[in-house]
């Protein structure tokens, strides 16, 4: 008797459920429209203020006095020198880290050896250390009062406040990128294809160039792309070791700051616009590469 009573009292809800309720019942992941609109607005609003707006400002300032002012700012010898230096440093960093990254990823993914976890942790070091510290390390090593300083001076070698120092600092800051892109990919792929190649009579070099490298080519490009973007954009570490010699040791990011501090808005933002374009191109290329990396991953069955 009491059970019946409870049952009769229970349905206190409207007899007809609303459309929203029906939709929610059919798709358990669906959120109410209000929530969806709020989330999307928040995300777009945030991106507009922190990403799109600054980008627009860079280009507006750069072209603020017309195209000819923009072009002549870029044609300035000091700007040219910065562009050349940046390209040179990026080339050295990408080249060095490509070799290092391939070697490290190969060792970590395909072999077991003592200290492997330590190596993996060390590869991430530049991500966790402030770039300024990374630069300071090289000052302490190669500076006049530094560890190698006296020896370098007596042999007339200039590392700090010159191309080698800037390149070293940039290599240090960017070395995780290629290795990081390749380690998971190579671990996923395993060593069976290499074993198959060797049992078919291939030499070590043939195995590497015909089997291993083609399997990771998209991963390599991905790593190189991110490494390059960071190498060209690095400020902190380079700022410490550069010495800011005008027309000689200023990279593009350093020049942007110097010009800005001198109120040369067009020149400063013209260089900045080049870096911004690099970022946009990197972004597009990254999306394309990420799609291709999926093809490199093993698909079983």
């Amino acid at each position: 008797m009491s059970i019946e009573m409870t049952l009769q009292r229970a349905p206190d809800r409207p007899a007809q459920p609303s459309d929203v309720e029906i939709a929610a019942r059919r798709d358990p992941r669906a959120e109410p429209t209000v929530v969806r609109i709020a989330l999307i607005t928040l995300a777009i609003g945030f991106l507009s203020v922190f990403v799109v707006l600054p980008l627009v400002v860079v280009f507006v300032e750069a072209f603020g006095k017309g195209i000819s002012a923009y072009l002549s700012a870029l044609a300035d010898p000091e700007a040219w020198s910065a562009i050349r230096l940046t390209l040179g440093v990026a080339a050295v960093s990408v080249g060095t880290n490509l070799v290092f990254g391939l070697a490290a990823a190969w060792a970590i993914a395909k072999f077991d050896f003592p200290g492997k976890t330590v190596l993996i942790t060390l590869i991430d070091l530049p991500f966790s250390v402030s770039p300024v510290i990374s630069g300071l390390v090289f000052v302490l090593l190669f500076g006049a009062q530094g560890f190698f300083g006296p020896w370098l001076q007596s042999h007339g070698l200039q590392i700090l406040f010159a191309f080698p120092g800037i390149a070293l600092a940039t290599v240090f800051v960017t070395f995780p990128f290629v290795a990081r892109a390749l380690i998971p990919l190579m671990q996923e792929q395993g060593t069976q294809e290499e074993e198959a190649a060797i049992s078919l009579g291939a030499s070590g070099l043939q195995t590497f160039f015909r089997v291993t490298l083609p399997n990771i080519k998209w991963g390599v490009l991905y790593g190189v792309l991110l490494c390059n973007a960071r190498a060209m954009g690095e400020f902190g570490a380079v700022s410490v070791v550069s010495g800011h010699i005008r027309g000689e040791t200023n990279t593009m990011p350093l020049l942007v700051e110097i010009l800005y501090n001198e109120y040369q808005m067009v020149a400063s933002f013209a260089i900045a616009s080049l870096l911004a374009m690099l970022a946009l191109i990197t972004l597009v290329a990254k999306t394309i590469l990420e799609r291709n990396i999926d093809e490199d991953l093993p698909h079983d069955h």
């Binding site: 074993e195 049992s199 030499s203 083609p214 079983d300």
Partner: protein, 345 residues
Amino acid sequence: MTIEARGVVKTFGTFKALDGVDLKVANGELLALLGPSGSGKTTLLRIIAGLEWPDAGEILFDGENALDRGARERHVGFVFQHYALFRHMSVFENVAFGLRVQPRRIRKSEAQIRARVKELLDLVQLDWLADRYPSQLSGGQRQRIALARALAIEPRILLLDEPFGALDAKVRKELRQWLRTLHHSINVTSIFVTHDQEEALEVAHRVVVMDKGRIEQVGSPNDVYDAPATAFVHGFIGESIMLPVEVSGGAVHLNGRPLDLAAPGDTAGASTLFVRRHDMVIGPADSGTLHGAIIHVRSFGPVQRAEIALTEGSTIEIDAPRDRELKIGDRIGLKPRHYRIFASG
């Protein structure tokens, strides 16, 4: 080519994968390495291929020390369990790989390579897939391409690691037959690893049963099934009833009660009685040497399987023909047609 392993030992850390293995494989033979996972069968195969190095022992090819040569120089065709096809190469280039990486002085011309690849694709009946990529093939097709690739270098030995392990049941059966026929036509000394006894017994000329890094028995499929050499082989191959018995002076006791069975002369103490399920003859309750009541009956295929609670305490499963009438609750007597007794431990 003959293959011989002498006293091969291999440990991975503290795990002893191979614990002194001796084996001779005759020229042109098709041999199966059969055992549960962790029995060392794949390790032995990889050591023969040179993909793994033994801690001790010898590997001889035609009487010559194979350990003088690395995997590259052994001229062994290896088919991997997960095929290991080169994913960025077409089927054609996969098969051609072994020919293209040969040193220049012995490398075939492009035309010869094309002809050879065509011939191999015909052999595995997949010439129409030459331009596809491995990801576009079914499991069975990948397996056959992996085999064609291994055969391209005209190997002196063919090694197959769980060749059908990753395939579904129907394809497995088709490929078994096909492998036998293929082996017959190319006649290369071949060893394949499997954990599937049916596959080993159906395909191989001889079967090597392994457990815990040791060889338990080597023999023809009939030998290992009809005359298992050890308790492990009896339990692993075919389905067996196992009963713990006590042997003293040739007499067999189950839970203290004597059975009308004779133990082989050298067995004594705690032992195990092995009987194939279909080797139990069912009779009236007062006949036979084991007695019990039927507690469950299931029928499938040509047999029915009855679960029987023995008066001695254990429960066993036996197979009987479908036309034998069995009812739950019936009291019956059982007598093994064939049986074996192995000392425990």
